[in-house]
Amino acid sequence: MISLSDFIVYWEGVGFSKFLRLFWYYFIVEAPRYLFMDFIVLMFYFVNKHLKRKKWADAKRRFFEERPLVSVIIPGKNEGKHIYKLARSLNEQTYKNFELIIVDDGSDDDTPIICKDLQKHGFIDLFLRNDVRGGKASAANLALRYTKGKYIIHFDADCSFNRDAIENVLTPFYYNSKIGAVGGNLEVRNTDESLATTLQTIEYMKSITTGRIVTSHLGIYAIISGAFGAFRKDILDQVNGWDIGPGLDGDITMKIRKKGYKIHFEPTATGLTSVPRNFSILAKQRLRWDKSIVRFRVRKHRDVFLPSESFRLSNFVSSGENILFNVILNFHWYLYGLDIIFNYSQLLMYIFLMNQLMYTTSNFLQFFMALTVVEKPKTKLKLLPYVPLMAIYNGYFLRIVRTIAHTRELLFRSSYNDPWNPPKSSNQARRLKI
C-alpha cells in the first residue's frame, strides 16, 4: 500500500507533460465531452430557456387552442400489473384529449383480464391483443395502425408520469415545426430499493436528463427512449412505424432524422421508471441496449456516414458521436489500460488512485450540474455519498458490460438470438440482414 503523503509527494513531482501522457484519455476525450461541453451547453440552455420563455408560453397556448387528439400507445408483454397504476397517472394528466391504446403482445399472465376490465371501466380506450407474441415493434405497429390522434405518445407500461408530462412533451411541436419527435425525460422511481437502483438514479440524472439536454441542444440527440417519446403521426406513417428491434427506439429516431426532421429532448416532460434492482438484471438489460448500437448505427444506418443526396452533418455527427464514444473509445480504453500496465507497471497504484480521484471529482461536478436541471434537486442531495461509487460503476461495470455486448454483436451478431424478439422475426431479420 502507499501512504497519502507518498501519493501527494509523487504527483507533485510529476511534470505537466507526463501527467498529460498518463491521463490524455481523460483530458482529451472525457473531460471535454462530458464536463466542459455539458457545462457550456447547460449555460446556453438556461440562457435560451430564459430568453425563449415567451415563445414557449406561446407554443403552449397554441397547443391548448388546437387541442389535438393524441394517441397514447403502450405495447408490452405481461405488463398487466403495471397498467392500473399507469392508467391512473394518465387519468390525472392536465391534458385530457387523448386516447389510450394498449397492445398486449401475447402475455401469458393476467394482463388480458386486467386490461379488459380497465377497458370496461373506461380507463383504456382500445385494448388489442396478439395471441401469439410478435415482438415489441409489431405490437407498437399494431397500436399505431389503430390510432386516431395527430400525435402519438409511446409509453412503457412500467412508467408513470407527472401530471403535465403530456402537455410538456407536445408543446415543442408547436414551438418549432421542424421538430418531428420529442423525447421525454425519465427519472428513477425506485431509487432507494438497492445500491444498483441508487447508482442508476445518478446515472439517469447525468446521462438522460443532463446528457440529452446537451445532445438535443447540439442537434445530435440520438435516441428517444421507448419509455417516453412523442411523435407526429404523419411522420411515423412516412417512416412506416417501427422496425424489428432490439434498439427500435434508436432506430426510429434515426429514421425520422433521415427524413430531415429535428429531434428534441424535453426535460420538463417527466416520467418515472423502475430500473433493474440488482446488477445481474441490469447487466442483462444493458447487454441488450448496447448490442443495438452496433446493429443499428454501425450496420443498418451506416449510410449516414456515406456522402449521398440526403447526407446531413447532424446525422453524421449524431451517429458518429454515438459510435465514437460508445464503441470505438470503449475498445480504446483497453489499449490505454494495456499501455499503462506495460509502460508504468511500478506506478500502477499511483495512477489508479489518481484516475479514481479525477473521475470522482468529475462525477461530483457532473452531479452538481445535473442538480440544476432535475426535478426536486433538494431530494437528490441524499445521493451525494454514492457519487464516489460512480467511478467504479461507470468506469468498470458498465464499460465491461458494454464491451461484452459490442464484441458479441460484432463477432456473432448475437442480437439475432435475443429472446427479446420471437425467433420467427429474428430469423427473417437475419436472412434479410436487417
Partner: protein, 469 residues
C-alpha cells in the same frame, strides 16, 4: 249457449265424446266417467286437453282423457296429459280399463280445502300423478313453453306469461320433501320476462350493433408491420397478399407472416375491438341482455317421495315456506294442541271460549297479482293488525295462506264476534290501502267451543263454512 254433448256408453262407463268444432263445456263433463276428444285439428285438441287439465275442479282435471287420433298430432306433452290414444272406437275396451284404474285410484283422494295457489298446484299435480300411478315428474323440451321446458301436470296450470313460476312451485315442493329433483339441464332466461327463447348474437361492445366485420390480423415478420388482412390486398391480383409497409409479397404462413389475432370492426359506429360481447335478445319482450345477466335456472327431473305420495292422497295442507314462523302466530300443530287444552280447561272451569276463522276468498287472484315477496309482507301486516286487536291470551294460526284460525278464549260469543268482525274490516281496509282497486272478499265465522266434542270435529264444522271460490 247450450252445447250438445254426445255420449258413448261402454259397459258401466259413460264417455263424454267431443267432436270437431264443439266447444268444450268443462262443467258438463263432471258427470261423465271419461272423455274422448276427437278433433282433426291439433290446436283444437290441445286446447281441449289443456282446458280440462287446468281446471280447478278435481272432478274435472283428474278425468281420464282419450284422444281419437286420425293424424299424428300427439306430441310428448299431449301424450303426458292424456291417458291414451285410440284409433278406432273398437279399442274402447283398453281405454275403459285405463279409465277404471284412474277412477278407482281417485277414490283414495281425501277432499281438502285449497290453500295458497302454489300448494294448490302442487296438490293437483301430485294427485294427477297418483291417479295415473306415476312417480316421476319429467321436464319435456317444448317449443310452445315460455321457458323451453314443460312439466305437463304443473305447467298447464299457468298462463304462458307466468310459466316461469312453474320452477318456483317445483322448488317449493322439493323443499317440502314431496319430490326430489335430479339435475337435468341448466337454462338461461330473459331477466325481464323470463322467456327462454333468446337470440344469441355477437355485438359491438360500444353500440350493441351486430353489424360486425371480422378480419384476421396479419403480422409480417421482416418489417414488423401488423394490420388487418384488408391492409394486405394487392390491387393487381386479388389472390396475392402484399405488405403495405415493405411491399413484399407474403409467402408462407408461419415463415414470413402469421395471423396472431382476429379483429372486429363495427359497421355502425366504426369502433374496433377484439372481444365481441355476446348478447341475448328476448324474442318475446325484445330486451337485449349481456349473457352474464341472464337469469339462470336449473331444470330437474323429479321423483315422488313417500311423503309426496301421502300428500297426494291427503292433500298438501300448507307449505312451510308459506308460513314459516310468522311472528304472532303459532303453527297449526301447536294450535291444535292448545285447542285441546282449552277444551280440557272448559271442562273444569266455567268459561266460554270460541273458535273462529277469517277467510280471504279471492286470495288466489290477489297473490298472483302481487307476487310472492309482497304476499309475505301482506301476511305479516295482516297478523300485525290482527294481533293488535285481540288479547295476548288469544291464539292465531294459519289454516292456509288465505285462512286465519282463531282461538278466542274466555270471552262471550258476542264479544268474540265483535272482535272478528272488527279484524275483518281492518283486513279489508289494509288490502285496499296497499293494493289499489282490489276489493278483498272476506268471509268469517265464530263458533262457541263445545267441551263435549273433539277439537277436530269442531274445526271441521267451522271450516266447512269457508266459502270456496
Amino acid at each position: 249457449m247450450k252445447t250438445h254433448i254426445s255420449t258413448i256408453k261402454y259397459e258401466e262407463l259413460d264417455f263424454c265424446y267431443f267432436k270437431d268444432n264443439e266447444s268444450i263445456d268443462v262443467r258438463a263433463i263432471i258427470d261423465f266417467n271419461a272423455v274422448i276428444i276427437n278433433c282433426s285439428d291439433k290446436v283444437l285438441a290441445n286446447h281441449a286437453v289443456h282446458k280440462i287439465r287446468s281446471n280447478n275442479n278435481e272432478a274435472v282435471y283428474l278425468k281420464p282423457i282419450f284422444v281419437y287420433n286420425k293424424i299424428d298430432y300427439v306430441d310428448q306433452v299431449m301424450n303426458e296429459l292424456v291417458d291414451g290414444v285410440i284409433y278406432s272406437l273398437e279399442q274402447l275396451g283398453n281405454s275403459a280399463d285405463t279409465a277404471r284404474k284412474i277412477i278407482l285410484k281417485s277414490k283414495d283422494l281425501v277432499e281438502v280445502s285449497y290453500v295458497s295457489f302454489e300448494t294448490y298446484v302442487i296438490t293437483k299435480s301430485l294427485r294427477y300423478l297418483y291417479s295415473r300411478s306415476k312417480t316421476t315428474l319429467e321436464p319435456i323440451p317444448y317449443r310452445n313453453s315460455k321457458i323451453g321446458y314443460y312439466f305437463p301436470s304443473i305447467s298447464t296450470n299457468y298462463e304462458s306469461h307466468d310459466e316461469n313460476k312453474v320452477l318456483e312451485v317445483l322448488k317449493l315442493a322439493e323443499d317440502e320433501g314431496l319430490i326430489v329433483g335430479d339435475f337435468f339441464e341448466n337454462i338461461y332466461l330473459c331477466n325481464n320476462c323470463f322467456d327462454g327463447f333468446l337470440n344469441y348474437r355477437e355485438v359491438c361492445p360500444e353500440c350493441g350493433s351486430s353489424n360486425l366485420n371480422s378480419e384476421d390480423l396479419i403480422h409480417h415478420f421482416p418489417c414488423a408491420y401488423i394490420g388487418p388482412a384488408s391492409d394486405f390486398t394487392n390491387e393487381f391480383n386479388a389472390y396475392d397478399m402484399q405488405c403495405p409497409k415493405c411491399s413484399k409479397m407474403l409467402k408462407h404462413i408461419g415463415v414470413d407472416y402469421d395471423k396472431p389475432a382476429v379483429i372486429f370492426t363495427c359497421h355502425k359506429c366504426n369502433s374496433t375491438f377484439q372481444d365481441v360481447v355476446i348478447k341475448a335478445k328476448c324474442t318475446s319482450c325484445s330486451t337485449d341482455t349481456d349473457v352474464e345477466y341472464l337469469a339462470p335456472r336449473e331444470i330437474k327431473k323429479y321423483q315422488l317421495t313417500p311423503k309426496g305420495k301421502y300428500a297426494a292422497i291427503s292433500g298438501v295442507a300448507n307449505t312451510k315456506t308459506d308460513m314459516t314462523r310468522m311472528p304472532g302466530t303459532v303453527d297449526k300443530v301447536t294450535f291444535d294442541v292448545m285447542l285441546q287444552y282449552e277444551i280440557e280447561r272448559m271442562k273444569v272451569a266455567d268459561i266460554d271460549s270460541n273458535i273462529a276463522f277469517i277467510h280471504l276468498s279471492n286470495s288466489k287472484e290477489l297473490y298472483t297479482m302481487i307476487g310472492k315477496d309482497a304476499r309475505m309482507n301482506l301476511l305479516t301486516d295482516l297478523v300485525q293488525v290482527t294481533r293488535n286487536s285481540i288479547r295476548s291470551s288469544d291464539i292465531i294460526s294459519f289454516d292456509s295462506s288465505s285462512t286465519l284460525l282463531f282461538s278466542i278464549n274466555e270471552s262471550s260469543i258476542k264479544d268474540a264476534e265483535k272482535v272478528v268482525e272488527k279484524i275483518s274490516k281492518l283486513i279489508i281496509q289494509l288490502i285496499k290501502d296497499n293494493f289499489k282497486n282490489f276489493e278483498a272478499k272476506i268471509s268469517y265465522k265464530v263458533h262457541p267451543l263445545d267441551s263435549t266434542i273433539s277439537y277436530q270435529e269442531q274445526l271441521k264444522m267451522l271450516t266447512s263454512d269457508i266459502v270456496k271460490e
